[in-house]
Amino acid sequence: MEQEIRACLDQKRYREAFDLLLVEYRNKVFRLCTSMLGDRAQAEDIAQDVFMRIWKALAGFRGQSSLSTWIYAITRNTCLTAIKTNASKKEVPLEEAGVERAAATVQPAISRTGVDLEALVAQLPEKHRQVLRLYYMEEKSYDEVARLLDLPMGSVKTYLHRARKQLAEAVARSRMEARNC
């Protein structure tokens, strides 16, 4: 598909190239946005911003990097800007905001594990959180997570290892406490 898109770009058929690119990358971009922002509605808005940026910059794409690398870089930068804007808008501390947001969005996780998993995920360090979400969204592919977040494979495995360990310990602890009560 990337070759088809590049062929369209070489022939200055930008609209056609954009249509192909949208089909190929829409869900990847959305999942990357979700992993970085946590909130589905905001991820959808930011994914739209990402594709607007891509549309505006498409004629200037010189093919120095692969198309996917270029698209994911735009996505990460757009998400980072959104995260900064979110942080400057909110008066409450980020950790608290994450817990509130998690509590407000996902409830089913509580019933199966005994704890609010999304709230626990929200309390993880930012990189751990992003890697963890993307790992489950991308069908547990380390390679894809590393590519999307532009991280070395070793870092992805380390972050994931720590995040899963932290969550499993919290769940095990919570179950033990429930049994003792």
Binding site: R26, M52, W55, L117, K140, H161, R164, V171
Partner: protein, 147 residues
């Protein structure tokens, strides 16, 4: 807390080789802490997979995006100004060259004075052609810049 020695093994349980799995299972069977840790880990995996997998954008996304593109980036029609200037410029140059060469070819030469006068007029027209060509090139460059 799982036993430190087995923690890594349990965290990578799904990817263990047969020999490693037998070793891990053997330990888990006799260690309550590791058993609880493994069960918790599997619960975390199951829940987060259910929660995050198959996340896709809904069908309205493309429609909303295209509407936004239409609103924010109005379709640009290519400008005809440079092409029009090309036409006028070339037409002008051809006309001047015809004006210059035409009399030299068709009019019979009368005497030396007339011949000199004709050559002077020819040089004047050639200079005018050169100046006009220069002016046209400058105008065309300017048109390219702004259109």
């Amino acid at each position: 807390m799982a036993c430190a020695k087995f923690e890594d093994l349990l965290l990578g349980y799904a990817e263990l080789s047969d020999a490693e799995r037998v070793r891990a299972d053997g330990h888990v069977a006799g260690c309550t802490a590791c058993k609880e840790f493994l069960e918790a880990l599997q619960a975390v995996d199951t829940n987060l997979t259910a929660q995050y997998s198959h996340r896709v954008l809904d069908a309205n996304f493309d429609h909303a995006l295209r509407r936004r593109i239409r609103q924010e980036i109005p379709r640009q029609r290519p400008s005809l100004v440079p092409e029009l200037l090309d036409f006028i410029g070339w037409a002008g140059i051809v006309a001047l060259i015809a004006l210059w060469i035409g009399p030299l070819i068709h009019t019979p030469v009368a005497d030396a004075t007339q011949k000199a006068a004709r050559w002077s007029a020819g040089i004047l027209v050639a200079c005018a052609t050169f100046v006009m060509a220069g002016f046209w090139v400058a105008l065309r460059c300017f048109a390219d810049l702004i259109h």
